[in-house]
C-alpha cells in the first residue's frame, strides 16, 4: 500500500513537472514573440531618429554657414532655396527622367555647374541628380536611373546664379 502511495506521489510530481515545463515553454514563446516585435519596432524607431538627427545636424551646420542651400522634398516634388533658417524661394520640380525612389535621403553637394550658350545649363549633384531648365543640358548619358529634375526657365535661372559649386542640398523623402 505504502509503495503504491509513493508511486502516486511520484506520478503526481512527474505530471506537475511536465505541466510546468510545457506552460513555461508556451510563456517563453509568447514573450519571445513580444520581444522580437518590440525589437523590430525599436530598430525602426532608431533608424528614423538617426535620419531625423542627420537632417537636424545639417540644419545646424547651414544655420551657421553663410551659404545658400537647397532642400528637396521628393514626395511633394518641390525644393526650397534657403539661406540660414530662411526660405528664399520655393521651386516646383518636374521629374524628367530617372528613378526618384532610388534617391538616397541625406546631404549631397553641387559638384558641377554646366554652362551652355544655348541655355542648356544644368546643376549636377554628384551621381544623385541634376537640375535643369526647360531645355535639356547637353550632357553625355549618365548612369541609368540618374534623376533629372526640371524647373521653369525663370526659377532655374534664379537658382543657377544663386548657388555655387560646393553648395549643399538635402534630399528629404
Amino acid at each position: 500500500m505504502k509503495a503504491f502511495n509513493k508511486i502516486g506521489v511520484t506520478a503526481g510530481l512527474l505530471c506537475a513537472f511536465l505541466f510546468v515545463g510545457a506552460a513555461g515553454a508556451e510563456e517563453g514563446t509568447e514573450e519571445r514573440g513580444k520581444l522580437l516585435e518590440q525589437e523590430g519596432r525599436l530598430t525602426a524607431r532608431i533608424e528614423s531618429l538617426k535620419q531625423e538627427q542627420d537632417y537636424l545636424l545639417f540644419q545646424k551646420t547651414m544655420y551657421a554657414s553663410d551659404s545658400k542651400y537647397l532642400v528637396l522634398h521628393i514626395a511633394a516634388r518641390s525644393a526650397q532655396l534657403r539661406y540660414k533658417n530662411r526660405i528664399l524661394k520655393d521651386l516646383p520640380l518636374r521629374v524628367v527622367s530617372g528613378r526618384i525612389e532610388a534617391l538616397v535621403r541625406g546631404a549631397t553637394t553641387l559638384t558641377g555647374k554646366v554652362e551652355d550658350p544655348k541655355e542648356r545649363n544644368a546643376l549636377v549633384f554628384g551621381s544623385a541628380f541634376l537640375l535643369q531648365g526647360i531645355r535639356p543640358p547637353a550632357l553625355r548619358e549618365s548612369e541609368p536611373g540618374f534623376v533629372r529634375f526640371a524647373l521653369s526657365k525663370k526659377d532655374f535661372s534664379s537658382l543657377f546664379y544663386a548657388v555655387e559649386t560646393g553648395s549643399q542640398a538635402y534630399i528629404l523623402p
Binding site: A3, I7, T10, A11, L13, L14, F17, L18, V20, G21, A22, A23, G24, A25, E27, G28, T29, E31, R32, L35, L36, Q38, E39, L42, T43, R45, I46, L49, K50, E52, Q53, L56, L57, Q59, K60, Y63, K68, L81, Y83, K84, N85, R86, I87, L88, K89, D90, K154, D155, S157, S158, F160, Y161, A162
Partner: protein
C-alpha cells in the same frame, strides 16, 4: 513489477526535469544555432530602448537649439535674376511682386570714370524708412544724359517725386522705392536700387520695420 514501475517513473522524472530545465522560461540559452536566448533578447531590447531614448533626447536638444535661432520677424527676399520681391514670415509667403533691379550696364564718363549698375547682393537690413523721398542725382545720372556734372551741393541735384511715395533705405545709396517706369517692372532697368509698384510699395512701407532683413541674390 513494482521495480519496473519505479524505474519507468524515475526515467520519466529525469526526462521531465531535463524538459523543464531546457524550457525558455528557465532563462537559459537555447542550443538552437542562430536563436538568441530570451535573456539575451531582453537585454538587447533594453539596449535599443536606451539608444532610442538617447537619440530622442539629443534630437530634442537640437530642435530646441534650432528653434532658439528662429523668430517670427517678417523678411524680404529679392531675386535679382527673375526680378521678383517676396515678403515672408516663417514659412508663409505674404507678398510677391515684380520689381526692377540693376540694369547690369556699364557707363563711362569722358574723364574715365566707370559705373556698373548692379543691385547689391547678400544680406542687408532696412536702415530707415522715408515718405516722399527725395533723389539726390548722382554724377552718373548726368554722365548718362551727356550733361555736365554740377558741383556736389548744387541744388539742381535735388529731385522730388521720382522715387514714389515711400522708400526703404538699405544703405550705400541703395533703396527699395517707387518708380514712374511701372511698365518696366520685372526687368533689369534700375541703377541698382529695387523699384516697386505703388500699391506694393505702400504695403511694404506699412509692414516692414527698421531692422527688417532683406536677402538679395
Amino acid at each position: 513489477m513494482r521495480n519496473k514501475i519505479q524505474l519507468m517513473l524515475k526515467t520519466s522524472a529525469v526526462f521531465a526535469c531535463l524538459l523543464f530545465c531546457s524550457s525558455p522560461s528557465a532563462g537559459r540559452s537555447e542550443d538552437v544555432p542562430g536563436v538568441v536566448s530570451l535573456e539575451g533578447l531582453r537585454a538587447h531590447v533594453q539596449t535599443l530602448e536606451r539608444e532610442a531614448a538617447l537619440l530622442e533626447e539629443e534630437n530634442q536638444g537640437l530642435k530646441n537649439m534650432l528653434r532658439a535661432q528662429e523668430n517670427d520677424d517678417i523678411f524680404l527676399v529679392v531675386d535679382t535674376e527673375s526680378n521678383r520681391l517676396t515678403m515672408r514670415q516663417n514659412d508663409s509667403l505674404l507678398l510677391t511682386t515684380k520689381v526692377g533691379t540693376g540694369s547690369r550696364q556699364l557707363i563711362k564718363s569722358e574723364a574715365g570714370r566707370k559705373w556698373y549698375f548692379e543691385s547689391p547682393m547678400g544680406s542687408l537690413t532696412v536702415l530707415g524708412k522715408e515718405r516722399n523721398p527725395v533723389w539726390i542725382r548722382p554724377d552718373w545720372s548726368y554722365v548718362e544724359e551727356n550733361m555736365p556734372v554740377p558741383a556736389e551741393n548744387d541744388p539742381d541735384r535735388i529731385v522730388r517725386g521720382v522715387l514714389g511715395k515711400y522708400a526703404l533705405i538699405l544703405g550705400n545709396g541703395y533703396k527699395i522705392h517707387g518708380t514712374k517706369w511701372t511698365e518696366l517692372l520685372g526687368t533689369h532697368f534700375t541703377h541698382g536700387c529695387i523699384s516697386v509698384g505703388d500699391d506694393d510699395l505702400e504695403k511694404l512701407y506699412h509692414t516692414v520695420k527698421i531692422g527688417t532683413k532683406v536677402y538679395l541674390y
